[in-house]
């Protein structure tokens, strides 16, 4: 009886969606040739698709409701994430795990082609970007939609300094990071007073302003045509051919990822990191505990921006060509999806999120058209079904352990 009712509801839902998507999915017009195509098969796919998705969602909800509540609510129910956590918590297994990952990452470019190595380097860049945004969004709870602006600042710092003053990659790497961090503080100062959603819109506006200036101020940034012939990173004056240089960039990225993970991990457990988490949970209570809200937020902004700036320099050096089109709002949205999918505040999660979101569309070429569609859907679905992300952060808890009673003689 219940099943029949659900079936009827699913049917009605799919009919509603067929109606909803009718003009845009079924009809395609060519206003110049003045012809109309009726793509009826699309309506059919839409009906079947929504029907099955509806039943799937209902099934998921049904199972979730009927599942007996597990005794410890903090434990993760998804097997994959609990497996990773179990490995990371056990020192021996963790060392083996890290060893395997290190071995794979060292051997990777020697097994696969240059193209694959390039793709992997891009994915690693997004890992660092994700970790940078994770400081701002995941730890401090400040939704930053203009993160790509700092990335752009880093990339343009390197290309412009190189163009005008001939400065090399290693000189500009810290300059780019620091300049981006300065921009982070500049943006941070005025928006400190704003609440969450207003903050998101202001950062979005800031990101767009930076992009529009880069696009229109031709004398400064060479406008939409961009800057080309940016030198690749060097190594004590050695000259590489293209293949070696790809390899070199890949290893540089690996080192950068390791350094970032190390620093972010240490930050998380530091006084500052705990202040961020407190700020995210409750601003007023946090202030009442004597945490300087202004300083804590500014440091979060500038540290997040610093990593974006560093990756920006790497990006300019890797692609040897940049233009404002690389720094649109969609880029910010991709980085945000990485953080949200992986799990806000979780380092392992962000690494996995970046690898999944950047590598999957690369290898499933057929799906690459649907990439942005999927990113949008991921953001919505994650918020509804799994707000803590794929691999959620385990909250550090401290237990008072009873001392074992002294052995009785």
């Amino acid at each position: 009886m219940v099943l029949l009712k659900e079936f009827k509801k699913a049917l009605l839902t799919s009919l509603w969606f067929v109606f909803l998507t009718f003009p845009i999915v079924v009809i395609k017009v060519d206003p110049i040739e003045r012809t109309v195509f009726w793509r009826w098969q699309n309506a059919f796919y839409m009906a079947v698709g929504t029907f099955s998705i509806y039943l799937l969602v209902k099934f998921y909800q049904h199972r979730k409701e009927n599942q007996p509540k597990s005794s410890d609510a903090g434990e993760n129910k998804l097997p994959i994430s609990s497996l990773i956590h179990r490995i990371l918590l056990n020192p021996v297994q963790r060392n083996i795990f890290i060893g395997i990952v290190a071995a794979i990452s060292i051997v990777f470019p020697h097994i696969f082609s240059t193209y694959q190595t390039n793709v992997m380097t891009t994915a690693l860049m997004y890992v660092v970007l994700g970790l940078g945004l994770n400081i701002v969004v995941g730890l401090a709870g400040l939704l930053d939609l203009g993160f790509v602006a700092f990335y752009a600042v880093g990339a343009y710092t390197y290309s412009l300094l190189n163009l005008h003053f001939g400065l090399g990659f290693w000189t500009v790497l810290p300059i780019g990071g620091l300049l981006a961090a300065t921009f982070g503080i500049l943006l941070g100062f005025p928006v400190l007073r704003l609440r969450g959603d207003y903050l998101a819109i202001v950062t979005l506006g800031f990101g767009e302003i930076i992009r529009l200036i880069l696009e229109n101020w031709g004398k400064f940034s060479k406008g939409p045509s961009g800057i080309s012939n940016i030198p690749r990173p060097g190594f004590f004056g050695m000259h590489f051919n293209l293949e070696q240089s790809v390899l070199y960039t890949y290893y540089l990225m690996i080192i950068l990822v390791i350094v970032t993970i190390f620093i972010v991990n240490r930050l998380q457990d530091s006084r500052l990191g705990r202040a961020w988490i407190a700020l995210r949970e409750d601003e007023i209570a946090c202030q009442a505990m004597g945490i300087d809200k202004r300083k804590t937020k500014l440091v979060a902004f500038s540290l997040g921006a610093f990593w974006a700036g560093i990756v920006g320099v790497m990006f300019a050096a890797k692609t040897t060509f940049i233009n404002p089109a690389s720094f649109t709002f969609l880029e910010s949205a991709i980085i945000l999806s990485i953080v949200v999918l992986g799990g806000m505040g979780s380092i392992v999660g962000v690494v996995f999120g970046a690898l999944i979101l950047i590598l999957l569309p690369e290898y499933l070429r057929a799906l690459s058209e649907y990439r942005m569609l999927a990113f949008g859907a991921i953001l919505v679905c994650m918020m509804i079904f799994r707000p803590q992300g794929l691999i959620s952060n385990i909250r550090r808890t401290y237990k008072f352990e009873k001392k074992s009673p002294p052995p009785v003689r």
Partner: protein, 300 residues
């Protein structure tokens, strides 16, 4: 002087379009405190529906008046259906979630809808059919204000008056105002809050669709990406006027439209969007409650 008047009227036209979109933002924010980031996409979908229906009808040789009426109705109906469905899918399950969750969900919805239209239709700019021919009696002042500008202004005024009447005097309008003031209290006096929220989304989306159709007919071309910029600018207008306040949204839209029009006319047209974004940042920094909004203090 003519140039000044021309800029003035073009600012009014811009302002009235922003007003149609900004009302959706401000009404939704007033009721559930959410920035409906996907609102710009609703506007785009309204414009696209109008474009598709109008082109189909003109290919099959319908008279112009019926094309305008039918495509306008279709735009409103479909955009409202989208608004209703989006609220049910993306926002309703998150009503008691932390503040950032519905916003992230809304951003996801916005990206999803953009790419849905991109994949189902095309990424090219498409020419929008001419819906409003130049009227003859407008000829002497055509260099100052065009026919479509007049049509946009008149339509906006009519729609605003209708909206005010709905909100002031009908039962659903009163329920909306009650819910905006205090949702729990509204539930206690027997208002079905879920229905009120749905109604708000439907009305807001319908207004955005009218705006979308008018703009597309005015500019003469359409693309899947038009919603993003229009949405951000209308949001700026809503914040400028004080988000949550309906007269504020209208006032803010006209201020923003005139500012943009004069700034592009007298300063530089390259930085048109920079003006709008800078205005948004400046308002939020110095007067986050807007021109007509009330500052609210968070109580613990």
């Amino acid at each position: 002087m003519d140039y000044f008047i021309e800029l003035f009227f073009s600012g009014l036209t811009r302002g009235s379009i922003y007003a149609l979109i900004a009302l959706g933002y401000t009404m939704v924010y007033g009721i559930i405190g959410l920035i409906n980031f996907a609102h710009g996409e609703i506007y785009m979908i309204g414009a696209f529906t109008a474009f598709i229906v109008a082109t189909v009808l003109s290919v099959y040789g319908f008279p112009l008046v019926s094309i305008v009426i039918i495509s306008g109705l279709a735009a409103v109906v479909w955009a409202s259906s989208y608004g209703y469905t989006i609220e049910k899918i993306a926002y309703k399950p998150l009503r008691h979630a932390p503040r950032l969750s519905p916003l992230i969900s809304a951003i996801g919805m916005s990206i999803f809808l953009q790419n849905y239209v991109l994949l189902a239709q095309t990424s090219d700019f498409l020419p929008f059919p001419t819906l409003f021919p130049d009227l003859e009696f407008m000829e002497p002042i055509a260099h100052i204000i065009g026919t479509t500008d007049v049509i946009i202004l008149v339509t906006t005024i009519v729609v605003m008056v209708l909206l005010t009447l709905i909100i002031k005097f009908t039962k659903i309008g009163k329920a909306m105002r009650a819910t905006a003031q205090d949702r729990t209290m509204a539930t206690l006096v027997g208002i079905n809050v879920n229905n009120v929220i749905s109604a708000t989304f439907i009305v807001g989306s319908g207004l955005a669709a009218i705006g979308g159709m008018l703009v597309a007919a005015h500019i003469g071309q359409i693309n899947f990406y038009i919603g993003f910029l229009a949405g951000i600018k209308a949001f700026t207008a809503a914040v400028l006027g004080g988000i949550g306040s309906i007269p504020g949204a209208v006032l803010g839209s006209f201020v923003l439209g005139l500012t943009e029009s004069f700034a592009t006319g007298y300063v530089s047209s390259d930085y048109e969007d920079v003006f709008a974004f800078s205005l948004l940042v400046l308002i939020l920094i110095f007067k986050p409650s807007g021109l007509l909004g009330r500052a609210s203090n968070e109580k613990v």
